[in-house]
């Protein structure tokens, strides 16, 4: 098999060996959960329950009208104790529904549905009702992604898992290849794609044999191929993955469907299969808990809303407090550092890293020496050093011309910078400011 990849990128130390050999542990016995009402990219939801209500596992507890909405479900059976703002994994306080488990095992799943026999609309409705969003980080509503306005030629299962430390996708590929392949087939059926590819980075090559076997056994005759990719960050980014697999580039400002592709996260594919086969909404997810200050690194499946602090208190995760320097939701390259760990696992939490003080070393920004490392590493070929120069100088026109709005915020530029310049950090803020500026100009133009 020819090993493919994209242009640019970097190869940070993988640090996956801590958890890559550990089977997924199912920790379903949460005593209470804190379920954020808004866990998707789109319009906000309204809670459907009030304090004191009894809820069943899988019961819908928040929803709203509108296309860009995805409902949220109770992940344990119990009583709604509070509805209040809590810190979420993006470091912002948002409304959360606190459910305390009462030991009952009331279940309120949807009716099973054969995704290969039902209509496309039925399938999309099921995916929405099951609360499925992209579980790789962005939390984009899956039913919107799977209803593209352009023909789709290729479905790509994103098995790149290019972030250091994270191994949950790898474990799913090894432990549940059949469900994963069925998810790819289901996606192909829904979007009408003739071809599917499961793209796997070389550091997970040992999963390929199992996947190919599963394709033969569970592929239902769909044309699905396993493709090896050279291990490189940020290959799991949609745009980079599409380039790596197809050689095409998503046009600036466009979407994967513009080049006939749909990219799905591994966890999302498996969650979709469960939503049809068992009628089970997205109420639990797998994630990797690791980091040098974590004495018990592991891959787990926990109910959505499980507080990391509860896992620690119950002894399921051991923290070396003296060494702890940073707590990160997600991977070290794109994840969010949080101020404490009484924060719930959300639909898009692929990992929780308890990083040691040594790993979390804080650097001071030095002056740019124009070494060009960021220029070569930028997977979007955006000339980060020049973009930084433009932003520091307040030259918005130049910044936009260089491609500020095309930045995928993968952070490779900041990672490779020997002067530790906060490149991606500045681009992130710059993107927001530029968008706001353009919006204001458009409003003024209307007046």
């Amino acid at each position: 098999m020819a090993v493919k990849s994209f242009r640019g990128g970097a190869h940070p130390p993988e640090r996956k060996d801590r958890t890559s050999g550990l089977p997924i542990e199912y920790l379903r016995g949460a005593k209470s959960v804190v379920i954020p009402v808004n866990q998707h990219f789109g319009a906000p939801l309204q809670p459907l329950v009030k304090v004191g209500d009894q809820v069943k596992r899988g019961q819908k507890i928040a929803d709203a009208d509108g296309r860009m909405t995805v409902p949220v479900h109770a992940s344990v059976a119990g009583v709604v104790k509070k509805i209040e703002p809590r810190t979420q994994s993006n470091n912002v306080d948002g409304p959360c529904i606190v459910v305390e488990a009462d030991g009952s095992d009331g279940v309120d799943f949807l009716a099973p549905l054969d995704g290969f026999a039902c209509t496309k609309d039925e399938a999309l409705a099921r995916i929405r009702e099951a609360g499925i969003v992209g579980m790789g980080g962005a939390g984009f509503p899956a039913h919107v992604k799977l209803a593209p306005s352009k023909p789709i030629a290729l479905v790509i299962a994103n098995g790149a898992e290019c972030e250091p430390y994270l191994t949950i996708d790898e474990r799913v590929m090894i432990e549940r290849p059949g469900d994963l392949v069925e998810g790819v087939a289901l996606t192909m059926k829904i979007v009408g794609a003739p071809k599917g590819v499961i793209a796997v980075e070389e550091n997970k090559a040992h999963a390929v044999a199992g996947l190919e076997k599963a394709v033969a056994e569970k592929g239902r005759g769909f044309d699905i191929e396993v493709q090896l990719l050279k291990t490189k960050y940020p290959q799991g980014g949609e745009k980079m993955l599409i380039s790596a697999v197809t050689g095409k580039e998503v046009p600036s400002g466009g979407l994967p469907m513009d080049v006939g592709c749909v990219v799905q996260n591994i966890g999302t594919l498996v969650a979709m299969v469960e939503a049809f086969r068992e009628g089970k909404p997205l109420i639990e997810r797998g994630l990797t808990i690791s980091g040098a200050a974590c004495a018990s690194p592991k891959n787990v499946v926990v109910p959505i809303g499980t507080l990391v602090s509860d896992l620690v208190a119950e002894g399921k995760v051991e923290v070396t407090e003296a060494e702890l320097g940073r707590v990160i939701f997600g991977g070290p390259m794109m994840g969010t550092a949080v101020p404490h760990y009484a924060i719930p696992v959300q639909k898009n939490t692929s990992g929780v890293l308890l990083v040691s003080k040594k790993e979390a070393e804080h650097y001071v920004e030095h002056s740019c020496i124009r070494c060009g490392r960021c220029m070569r590493a930028c997977s979007c070929r955006l000339s980060p050093a020049l973009l930084n120069q433009a932003l520091v100088a307040g030259d918005w026109e130049d910044a936009e011309k260089i491609g500020l709005l095309d930045c995928v915020e993968c952070g490779t530029c900041s990672y490779v910078c020997p002067a530790r310049i906060q490149l991606v950090q500045r681009f992130r803020v710059g993107k927001q400011l530029l968008r706001a500026k353009k919006q204001k100009e458009a409003q003024n133009a209307c007046k």
Partner: protein, 337 residues
Amino acid sequence: MPANNLLLSSSPHAFAPATTRKIMLAVIIALLPATGYGIYLYGLPALILVIATVAASVASELLFRAAIKAPRSVGDLSAIVTGLLLALILPPSTPIWMAVLGAVFSIVVAKEFFGGLGANPFNPALIGRAFLLMSFPAAITTWHKPLQGIVDAATTATPLNLVKQGASLADVAAQVGAGDVGGLYWQLFLGNRSGSIGESSILLVSIGGLFLLGLGVIQWIVPVAVLGTTALFSWALGMDPLFSLLSGGVVFGAFFMATDYSTSPLTPLGKAIYGAGIGLLIALIRKLGGFPEGVTYAILVMNMLSPFLDKLRVKKYGYVAPKKPAKTAAPAKEAAK
């Protein structure tokens, strides 16, 4: 809540091992073979010159930044690199006070006046040399035969000087005691000839350059463009291309001066044009200019173009060409008819 004192910062939370300091250290290491050979050729005076320029560079950076109350920056080792580079492109007989003056000019005027590391438009070491060459032309163009000590009896002309004065390569070979032209090439490659302290051994300079290339500290485009075009344009102007590469400071300049981060373009196409421009200017200055050697000025002139060459960016991912306004203009014309 347990966890206190947690670091909060925007991602990424991991960093590559390379730092400015490590990069500068790599450059210093890469320069050591050539430095050692220069000291072997010219003895103690060369060693003292190297120490003096490095010390003067570090001291002037330290003092200047203290005077303007800027954060101390000598820890990045870039002042040591500048001082070392300056020493290596000076004649071994340069008076110490003169070399120190050059180092101070390099650091204070060429580097710190413009904002320090990374902000200087011109290569500081080359500015230092150009400053000395203009101020003290006789001293900076006095050369000594290697391995004979810095004594008046040992002054000589460099191979490039000889050619400038009209000598053929065979004459030069005879002058340096190399026998035939083939022997001259070989002797120039190994470095046993008069010239600046660090430039003469093409072998050792190249080893340093390849070391930096191997580490990824410098990229191949600029050195290849400089060397390739120097040979090409020298040949086109009727000079011996191999002799052009082996004599003077072309190889040293290609690996250590033209690749200077601050003063060379960032983009691949920019780098290629920049390198090619340096090669062209070297050949033109050597053929038509008043000096026998032109590497210093060739690089300084191209330094000026770097900010403009930076505009030659690679196409970004998913680039879509903007719609040409001509399309909207065309129907308007028709309407006018």
